[in-house]
């Protein structure tokens, strides 16, 4: 089983985008979502984030997502990128770009 190594972020708060922040969790996947369309699409966005995390083999994870109307594939891409960064081995001693 894979573990998230560190906090990581992806995306922006521009229109039609989503900013995702992830950190190692303790017991389950917890998703805190702020969305301008949460009433209509909140459940769908959460499901996408949870699905990507599951596909990447992650079980303990905290996620904060600020959504500005991102389409489903953008949600998936941003989540994947954030998790990829969180899983990547440290290459720059934590100080580089």
């Amino acid at each position: 089983m894979k573990t998230v190594l560190r906090a990581a972020q992806a995306g922006t708060m521009e229109s039609n985008d989503l900013m995702v922040i992830v950190e190692p969790g303790s017991g389950g996947i917890s998703i805190d979502l702020e969305s301008i369309v949460s009433r209509q699409y909140g459940a769908a966005i959460r499901a996408t984030i949870a699905r990507v995390a599951a596909e990447m083999g992650l079980t303990d994870l905290n996620v904060k997502a600020v959504d500005k109307g991102a389409l489903d594939y953008a949600v998936e891409a941003r989540t994947r990128t954030a998790l990829g960064r969180a899983l990547a081995p440290e290459t720059d001693g934590g100080r580089g770009k």
């Binding site: 906090a7 990581a8 950190e23 904060k64």
Partner: protein
């Protein structure tokens, strides 16, 4: 975004770069005295358009040129700062703003958690929230009866004065929560301060010792840099104590707050005065008790630190309980060659390495007790 827009990281060791930021901020009535952890500037066609920085979890010194408002530059700044914070492992964020600008941050996912009318709003976002902290803390103390009393203490280090105050509160209340100030800007590190209080309070059945967290006397609840000098004392206390009375006390069934009289530190005295003014109308009774004395002298953590620096074990025996003295002896043993530990040879402006930053941070020396 504009192609002529550049985001540059400020070299905080460069006088010319920091001066440029300071001059820019001065136009907005904002200071740049305390060194942040990281700062950026936005340039439009080479000219400075905006700036922002952070220190720990707190975004600060955010400003965008008036003629460039409404272009989303604040969003660009905040996104860049949060990205760098996350890279450093920070996933929860605070920002202060004038109440009139709070909506700008609401659009960026921030939620207002406290406000001093007309002076400042405090907002947060990220992983973890005030609501979550209240729920988790309430759960952690769910075994205690209520109503409860609260003591917020730095315990730098734990003295006989702290012990006397805890003892009094324990006697006078169903249950007591001792909240030890978490932020590590004190002479003794949080882990050590916390352990000493925990050991000392063990003998009181109805007392629970907890970390104060980020919502009580923290860099967030005490914005020293954000406000104009004359507004600072009032707004600071209003934010911190408003948050305590309106959100924390109800969540944790706290109906009283205890504090020791403050004859030494003017900031703490002001904080105590603000407590008496702000808490009771919001339903939290305030009990300020006289300091315990050792002979002629009151017992104060300040005196304990002074005596420790002189390795004056005879004086310490009257001021601190046994566990604190054992701890101080073990420190002295580790470091016999430096009888005056406040003369640090590291640079003085990095967080956590100055010995007593309270005067610098503008936070009370030890709110609530000796």
């Amino acid at each position: 975004m504009d192609e002529n827009l550049d985001l540059d990281v400020v070299d905080l060791d460069s006088e010319s770069e920091t001066l440029e930021v300071a001059d820019f901020l001065a136009r907005f009535g904002l200071g740049f005295e305390e060194r942040p952890d990281y700062a950026v500037v936005l340039r439009l066609a080479g000219k400075m358009a905006g700036t922002g920085s952070f220190k720990g979890e707190v975004l600060r010194n955010l400003a965008v040129r008036d003629d460039l408002r409404g272009l989303g530059l604040t969003k660009t700044l905040v996104t860049a700062l949060m990205r760098e914070q996350t890279r450093r492992g920070i996933v929860h964020f605070f920002v202060f703003t004038k109440p009139g600008n709070a909506h700008m941050f609401s659009e960026l996912g921030f939620k207002e958690i406290a406000g001093a009318p007309r002076l400042a709003s405090l907002l947060e976002t990220g992983i973890g929230s005030l609501g979550q902290w209240c729920r988790e803390t309430a759960e952690a103390v769910s075994g205690l009866p209520s109503p409860r009393a609260a003591l917020v203490m730095n315990c730098n280090p734990y003295t006989l004065g702290h012990e006397a105050l805890i003892e009094k509160a324990s006697r006078e209340n169903e249950a007591v929560l001792v909240l030890v100030v978490r932020e590590d800007l004190s002479f003794f590190p949080f882990a050590d301060r916390f352990r000493l209080v925990e050991e000392g309070a063990e003998k009181f059945q109805n007392v629970r010792v907890l970390p104060s967290g980020r919502y009580i006397i923290s860099q967030a609840t005490f914005p020293t840099y954000f406000l104009k000098e004359e507004d600072r004392a009032e707004a600071r206390s209003a934010l911190d104590l408003g948050l305590f009375a309106e959100k924390i006390a109800p969540a944790l069934a706290i109906s009283r707050r205890y504090a020791g009289e403050e004859p030494l530190c003017p900031l703490t005295r002001k904080y105590n005065e603000a407590m008496l003014k702000i808490l009771p109308p919001k339903g939290v009774e305030v009990v300020v008790t006289p300091r315990v004395t050792a002979g002629e002298k009151i017992i104060s953590a300040t005196y304990v630190r002074e005596a420790f620096q002189k390795r004056d074990w005879a004086a310490l025996a009257d001021l601190a309980p046994k566990n604190t003295i054992d701890y101080l002896r073990s420190l002295a043993k580790e470091d016999p060659g430096r009888p005056e530990p406040e003369k640090s040879d590291r640079p003085p402006r990095r967080p956590g390495d100055a010995l007593n930053r309270n005067s610098q941070t503008g936070r009370p020396e030890d709110p609530g007790a000796t």
